[in-house]
Symmetry: C2
Subunit: 183 residues, 2 copies
DNA sequence: CTCTTCATGTAATGGGTTACATGATTCA
DNA sequence: TGAATCATGTAACCCATTACATGAAGAG
């Protein structure tokens, strides 16, 4: 149920649903993704509840832009969310479920192939996140240690993303090595 | 949509919905959780589809036990799931979304308090997972390197859980230190 | 001439959570 | 006497995904 708050958080500066989607892709994607089909109704609801204001503006191209602005009640909602402390939702990691049952294949060769594919996938994800980091670095030469506060906290999240992927990658390599040692 | 396959995987040995819930709590919880309200209908559906067989057995206590057994079609379904390669579902990490927006608090003190709470939470989770590892160790003296295949793959998943939590914990400490250095 | 980008949505379906409902036995 | 364990479920709701629908401008 955090999408509401995330949208409010992103609307520190006014924007349209489409703008927010772009922000998801650029900055939040590695820990949260959302589709336009989710974003549009959510924004409408937040407006109905009085946390956002809308104004229709003429677009450069396409249909009229519905620009959402956060109201004071919206500011407050974000602050409350943060003051409640960290939220944990149960994570579900499909590929770990698969690893758990790899023995069902009755074949160390097939199990190994699975782990190698997993390794490659994670390596790709890590490479992509590093590209994102490159972009951030190019956008602001103060990256990572002299960023203003607005950039500092997002940078922390990127950092954890990189750390976790690197740890997962190492785990893959070690797992493959352990499997090889068993045979 | 992996719950189906996980239930099938767990039913290598026959059992009831309640038994499976226990297995979730003991072995899979750190990467997948499921409620009885999800498990019971899912088992019924798998039976209707012909992947499982049911037989009603007299219980030690309570209502009759519905014991599910995997059929050959069920075995096949598990194997197909694994042979398709690793599945990635987009993860959503609420607390990272919160970290991303911590600047909204306009207070390094409050932001720091958030990170400390996060640190404590993760430390608790790590301690709990280590307890789980202790149990596994006690259950089988061959842990971790001389386990039979059935135990080896589950142990890998536990290992990743521990690795990731340890990495997250380090990240928390470093983030708090970096925040302190800024002020 | 086709693909991408801008920009809005709705509808159907699927998956997950919470609440509700029942009832016997065992343990503190 | 009250809580936990065993054992089954249903119903309402919420959240997320996929598919469908429209349409103009600009890039290649």
């Amino acid at each position: 149920m955090a999408l509401r708050q995330i949208l409010l958080g992103m609307l520190r500066k006014p924007g349209t649903g489409y703008d927010l989607k772009r922000q998801f892709n650029q900055s939040l994607r590695h820990f949260w993704a959302a589709d336009l089909a989710q974003i549009y109704p959510a924004l409408q609801k937040l407006e109905q509840e009085g946390l956002l204001a809308v104004s229709v503006e003429p677009p450069a191209q396409g249909p009229p832009r519905k620009v959402y602005r956060r109201k004071k009640t919206g500011d407050q909602a974000v602050r409350e969310w943060l003051l409640q402390g960290p939220e944990f939702r149960r994570d579900r990691i499909s590929y770990l479920a698969q690893v758990f049952f790899l023995n069902e294949l009755n074949s160390a060769v097939d199990a190994r192939a699975f782990l190698v594919k997993l390794r490659d996938n994670i390596a790709t994800q890590l490479a992509e996140l590093k590209k994102v980091e490159q972009h951030w670095q190019n956008d602001d030469p103060r990256y990572p240690d002299d960023l203003p506060d607005e950039g500092f906290y997002p940078q922390l999240t990127l950092q954890l993303g990189l750390t976790r992927l690197a740890a997962s990658l190492e785990w893959c390599d070690e797992s493959i090595a352990r499997l090889d040692r068993r045979n």
